[in-house]
């Protein structure tokens, strides 16, 4: 198989299959289409809720609640946070990826994994570790510190994957035309990372908008922390809903910006041919500074939280309430696995449609999922609480509603992976199986589903990771008596019971670590997106 077959753009752009005449979907596909449409409609529920609540509130009240000094403060905080943190994450993520993939960095195989490792530490655990190590942390710069350390792997992972697959031929041409190493990097390498960088930057920015626990712990107010506070004071007050509508507006702007900056250029190789081995720049006297800076980064982002968590855990050893944290662990695993499985199943029709029958329509379907997942868990949670109490009280406070919320929050994570997996299982193979006498359904299962499985596993890992670290929607929607690792950790750490919170933090990291590794491996394989 040649590489160009596996070259779907990250999202949105038409794949090669979509060019020219559009195939008319057979009946079975229409059914898939209906499923996809229903999923998309369902996923628009939170957005509809926010719009509806804004409408119900009435223009005058909405205006007084939105245009007040407090919202100005939150706006400033949130904008500054994004403007400072996203570039920092880009520098660290791309810089780290470049050192690991394209230079003669010693031990680069180890560094490659270590730089992805902070992803296994939930941001609020990171925040807890830092606050207990440096109690005076508070405000914007502490927020930037913790967010950068927690989220730079979101840029690093796609950037490393893209770099490892870049065609060195272009760089060689650049060099032969007289460009120096630095200029080659900025004029040839960096532009080719555009998709990885804009995608990563979008992810970081959306996480910044959605994060609650990490910022609450260091007294840094953003829209999401303020909505949570409003919610805790009034359960479902208009002020909280108005803040949510501002936040949704924010998310839409970010999505739009990302769509713009991604551009329409084609980055994948065209045609066959052998890709050369990537060039590695010898580091020489830069070897030591490079090693030291990577060491500093991983110590700050991964070493410190792990050390603090272990220290507190050992400090409390002996008084471990095993009968409390084992149920929490099992419930977390249960929700994580169920949520991941359902998300993959629900996402499949949509990914199938997007890859096999790309059109403005399938694009719109996908976009509706991105909009919802870009909202913080608190907004999705609020929507589900209100709708389930009023419309379907039978499902209120059931595990089903919580899983449904997880599906909406994390569907795009599954979609991105499913898409690339489906694209690597070209329709032609399935058709070949059919022409050899297999019935269509069977050939679909035997060929396409099987070839998609690894990508689906990657997507599931990503969803699982999201669910394990999810806090706000879980707090709102979980059935009575539910205790997940995240909610238990939160309830202990809010009472500054560092010792009591530590075992939950440790378990969260332990559960997340293998998933992070799986993801890292998967992203390497699926590179070229």
């Amino acid at each position: 198989m040649t590489t160009d077959l596996s070259a779907p753009q990250v999202s949105g752009d038409t794949t090669t299959a979509g060019r020219g005449k559009r195939p008319r979907p057979p009946f079975g596909v229409s059914a898939v289409g209906i499923l996809a449409v229903l999923t998309a409609l369902f996923s628009l529920l939170p957005l509809g809720y926010v719009i509806f609540m804004t409408g119900v509130t009435g223009w005058d009240t909405a205006v007084t609640l939105v245009f007040r000094p407090r919202v100005g403060e939150l706006l400033l905080n949130t904008v500054l946070l994004i403007l400072i943190t996203v570039p920092l994450c880009l520098v660290l993520g791309v810089g780290g990826a470049w050192l690991v993939e394209r230079t003669g960095l010693r031990g680069n195989k180890w560094w490659a994994v270590l730089l992805a490792a902070p992803l296994a530490v939930p941001a609020f655990v990171n925040s807890y570790a830092w606050v207990s190590a440096v109690p005076s942390l508070e405000g914007l710069w502490s927020g930037v510190l913790i967010a950068t350390l927690s989220y730079f792997p979101l840029v690093y992972i796609p950037a490393a994957a893209a770099l490892s697959r870049l065609d060195p031929a272009i760089e060689q041409s650049a060099a032969s035309l007289g460009l120096g190493a630095w200029r080659t990097f900025f004029r040839v390498v960096l532009p080719q990372l555009r998709i990885a960088m804009t995608g990563g930057a979008l992810l970081v920015a959306l996480h910044l908008l959605a994060e609650y626990g990490a910022f609450a712990m260091i007294r840094f107010d953003t829209f999401t922390t303020a909505i949570m506070i409003q919610y805790r004071s009034t359960f479902n007050g208009t002020a909280g809903n108005m803040l949510a509508s501002v936040l949704v507006f924010f998310c839409l702007i970010l999505l739009l910006l990302e769509g713009r900056s991604r551009g329409t250029a084609r980055y994948a190789r065209v045609g066959s041919g052998v890709q050369g081995k990537a060039l590695r720049l010898p580091l020489r006297s830069y070897q030591l500074p490079a090693q030291l800076s990577l060491l500093a980064l991983t110590v700050l982002a991964f070493g410190l939280p792990l050390w603090v968590v272990l220290r507190w855990t050992l400090a409390g050893a002996g008084s471990w309430p095993a009968d409390e944290f084992i149920p929490a662990l099992l419930q977390t695993l249960g929700y994580g696995l169920a949520g991941a499985a359902v998300t993959i199943v629900v996402g499949f029709p949509m990914a199938f449609l997007a890859v096999r029958y790309p059109s403005w329509f399938s694009k719109a379907l996908e976009l509706s999922n991105y909009i919802t997942s870009s909202m913080p868990g608190i907004v999705v949670g609020l929507a589900f609480v209100t709708v389930s109490i009023r419309v379907v009280p039978g499902v209120y406070q059931t595990a089903g509603v919580l899983v449904a919320a997880y599906v909406l929050l994390f569907l795009p994570r599954a979609l991105v992976n499913l898409r690339s997996g489906l694209a690597q299982a070209p329709k032609e193979l399935e058709e070949a199986a059919q022409s050899l006498g297999r019935p269509p359904l069977l050939s679909f299962i035997r060929v396409t589903l099987r070839l998609t499985a690894p990508a689906a596993a990657g997507g599931a890992a990503l969803v699982f990771l999201g669910i394990v670290n999810e806090l706000t929607a879980t707090l709102l929607l979980s059935p009575n008596g539910t205790r997940t690792l995240a909610t238990q950790f939160w309830s202990k750490s809010s009472e500054i019971d560092y010792v009591g919170a530590a075992p939950y933090a440790l378990l969260m990291i332990l559960v997340s670590a293998p998933m992070t590794y799986l993801l890292f491996q998967q992203s390497k394989k699926a590179a070229g997106q």
Binding site: R70, S136, Q230, I326, Y335, V342, Q397
Partner: protein, 351 residues
């Protein structure tokens, strides 16, 4: 163990339910009825919506279940959140009992007409000053407002005479509180009841300028201890709780009681009530009787929450300043208005 198997069953349902939900595009099937049975219709199980300290309620629940065999499911949250949740749920609420840390949330549910009358046997156990005259709910514990201050920097004579003095310019940037918490909102509710809307508004406005906002009272006390601020307006038991453990967050801290019926001497009554919609009203009433009874109050007295025991003639933990010495202002707990408080605090830019 029971919780776990319950949850796993729920999760098994979840997959189908979530599929059902998405397949119906917003018109979910009435599939998972798991939680309806978590309420335990008829089985004698009860669900407690708990905004009191988790550990304290757990101790009550464990002792109660041991004594009566009645199973109790606990959902934890904060006062205002759970009160509003119960109101939203209305008659469909899975809650049988509601426990809070403060009175305003109880008054809110009472005003929505959702509480059943408290059993006479329970009422008889609680002194009249610790329960509303309506007997739609009852006091279960109490907590005193206090100013914790940095004793390495300040002496008592340098402290404000009244809580209202914290609005003065000399306190700018020097004090803190946890405005997003139910505790602080209860103090504001008392202020509103004692001094009226205009005075409260002005005080809150000054607070926005003068104070630092922390998340949680323990965090605020920790900040005083670390020298970040000079004083914090919180409840009394954080200090005792920390002293009983390592004391590392209160070494440099001393407590100042405003007394003199000052709004800052407000004694907040924690409440408990039985929902009208409860399907197990008898068991729910039983639980409330247990909590306010001798055993329940002794759990409170000997436990680590350091709240005031108030009922069944059980004295407060002897480490605490006796209730009669607190000189708390008289406030009818049924009159504390939490909705108005959040509106005023939102207006002042604190929320």
């Amino acid at each position: 163990m029971k919780i776990r198997s319950h949850a796993l069953a729920g999760i098994a349902l979840a997959a189908t339910a979530a599929l059902g939900l998405s397949a119906c595009g917003g018109g979910p099937t009435p599939a998972a009825s798991g939680s309806a049975s978590a309420g335990g219709a008829g089985s004698g199980e009860i669900t407690v919506y708990n905004a009191q300290h988790e550990d304290l309620t757990q101790a009550w629940v464990d002792a109660f279940t041991k004594e009566t065999g009645i199973k109790v499911t606990v959902r934890n949250g904060e006062d205002p959140e759970m009160a509003n949740q119960i109101i939203q749920e209305g008659a469909a609420s899975p809650a049988d009992v509601f426990l809070t840390e403060n009175s305003p949330a109880m008054a809110q549910v009472e005003n929505a007409g959702l509480f059943a009358d408290v059993d006479q046997a329970t009422v008889a156990q609680v002194p009249a000053n610790f329960r509303p005259s309506t007997n739609k709910w009852t006091g279960i514990a109490a907590r005193s407002t206090v100013l914790v201050y940095d004793k390495t920097k300040l002496t008592e004579d340098k402290l404000p005479k009244s809580m209202l003095d914290l609005a003065n310019p000399e306190w700018k940037g020097r004090w803190g509180a946890s405005p997003s918490g139910a505790d602080f909102q209860a103090i504001v509710a008392a202020l509103l009841e004692l001094k009226g809307e205009t005075a409260t508004k002005e005080w809150l406005k000054a607070m926005k300028d003068n104070s630092k906002a922390y998340k949680g009272n323990s965090t605020a006390m920790k900040a005083v201890n670390a020298g970040e601020i000079d004083a914090a307006l919180i409840y009394h038991y954080y200090y005792f709780g920390d002293q009983a453990k390592t004391g590392e967050n209160s070494k440099n801290v001393s407590q100042y009681y405003f007394k003199n019926q000052d709004p800052g001497a407000f004694l907040s009554v924690s409440g408990g009530g039985v929902l009208k919609s409860s399907k197990n009203a008898a068991a729910a009433q039983e639980f409330l009787k247990f909590v306010t009874g001798k055993k329940g109050q002794e759990i409170l007295q000997k436990g680590t929450s350091f709240e005031y025991a108030i009922a069944s003639d059980v004295p407060a933990n002897d480490k605490l300043v006796p209730v009669k010495d607190l000189q708390a202002p008289t406030v009818d707990p049924a009159k504390l208005n939490s909705e108005k408080v959040t509106d005023l605090m939102t207006e002042a830019g604190l929320l």
